[in-house]
Amino acid sequence: MQLEILTPEHKVFSGNVYGIQLPGTNGSFEVLDNHAAMIAALGKGKMKVLVDKHNTDVYEISAGFVEVLNNKTSVLIEDATALA
């Protein structure tokens, strides 16, 4: 699926990924290929981008939103700190 992670200052991530784990306001959840259309609010926590089955990028975020539509996921956050 296609993933875009956007902040007001720059594009953090853009490309094809296997899935993404997100800290929802009501608990953590995961978006994989062909997820149903969804808009969700995100809370404070770790966001894990599953680039493929072995590689992951982890970011610390404080709040934001995610929109899933037609296998395209857009994550909108105000700040993202990459964790090694």
């Binding site: 875009e4 007001p8 200052e9 149903a36 259309a37 808009i39 609010a41 709040a63 929109e67």
Partner: protein, 293 residues
């Protein structure tokens, strides 16, 4: 005679060095303008997506959602957010922002102003200095955002304004800044910031069956402050680009004017030099003639 020559020569030198400075400032502004424009472009996808989400949600919400940030109250206290620059030498840019701010106060809030209920939140040193000097009520915590321009610092000002509105410290908040069109044109605008103007339900919005997490109403409440943050951020970025654009054009004009002065000075220098040579020649010739007698 040579004294006059020297004087003109000195003036030429000083105008030349001024021209060098204005030229350099123009180049610097051009480079900074490019960076400022890049920042605007970087922000665009984020704010577009945010707006898209908002219209998606609004088109699916059936009734009215009561939002504290959209509450219309009787206007007693007003906050004006005025975005100016930190530095001068950019033509009438700052003067125009300040003029528009005062004009809006005079036209829309004269009653409140008389009672001393109009407060200014200046962003940028020039506006801060001006409004403080004239004795306006000033919120002085956020004027130096431009010294380290980032979303983080702008958000501080935006969050302050939203919280103050929610605490009913202000009943109406307006945002005065200069929209960036291109390097030569700025459009000075005042827009209502809070309460949030009613979001229109667009008839043509695509109706996708979204899953909403947690719920539509809560999402809307979460989304609104983020959109308001981006609104201020966009205003500040626009103002920043406008400032550099204005400085670039005014420095270009200054270099041009220096060129014109130089041209006139060179003509008068050459004329004085020629006059000196002519008198010297006449002296020699008439001296020789007297000797031959």
């Amino acid at each position: 005679m040579s004294g006059q020559l020297k004087e003109v020569r000195n003036r030429i030198k000083s105008v030349q060095s001024t021209q060098q400075i204005t030229k350099a400032m123009k180049m610097v502004s051009a480079a900074k303008l490019r960076r400022a424009q890049d920042a605007i472009i970087q922000m665009r996808p984020y704010s577009q997506k945010l707006q898209e989400m908002l219209s998606n949600i609004v088109s699916s919400v059936s009734g009215d959602v009561s939002m504290p940030l959209a509450e219309e109250r009787i206007t007693e206290r007003v906050l004006m957010i005025a975005v100016t620059s930190d530095r001068g030498l950019c033509g009438a840019y700052n003067a125009n922002v300040i003029k528009l701010t005062r004009q809006v106060i005079n036209e829309k809030y004269p009653e409140q102003f008389k009672k001393g209920n109009v407060t200014i939140l200046p962003i940028g040193k020039k506006g801060f200095e001006f409004f403080t000097k004239l004795g306006y009520n000033v919120v002085s915590d956020y004027w130096n955002i431009f010294s380290n321009l980032s979303f983080e610092s702008v958000r501080g000002a935006a969050v302050y304004a939203q919280n103050a509105f929610l605490r009913k410290e202000y009943d109406r908040i307006e945002l005065v800044y200069s929209q960036f069109r291109n390097a030569a044109t700025q459009v000075f605008t005042a827009e209502a910031y809070l309460p949030i103007p009613k979001v229109e339900q667009k008839a043509g919005a695509k109706n996708v069956d979204f899953i909403y997490e947690p719920s539509m109403d809560e999402l809307l409440l979460e989304l609104m402050p983020k959109i308001l943050n981006t609104q201020v951020y966009k205003a500040v970025l626009d103002a920043n680009a406008s400032e550099h654009g204005a400085r670039m054009t005014s420095m270009d004009k200054a270099s041009e004017n220096a060129g014109e002065i130089l041209k006139a000075l060179k003509i008068s220098y050459n004329r004085a030099r020629q006059a000196a040579i002519t008198t010297e020649l006449t002296e020699i010739v008439s001296g020789a003639a007297a000797l031959q007698g």
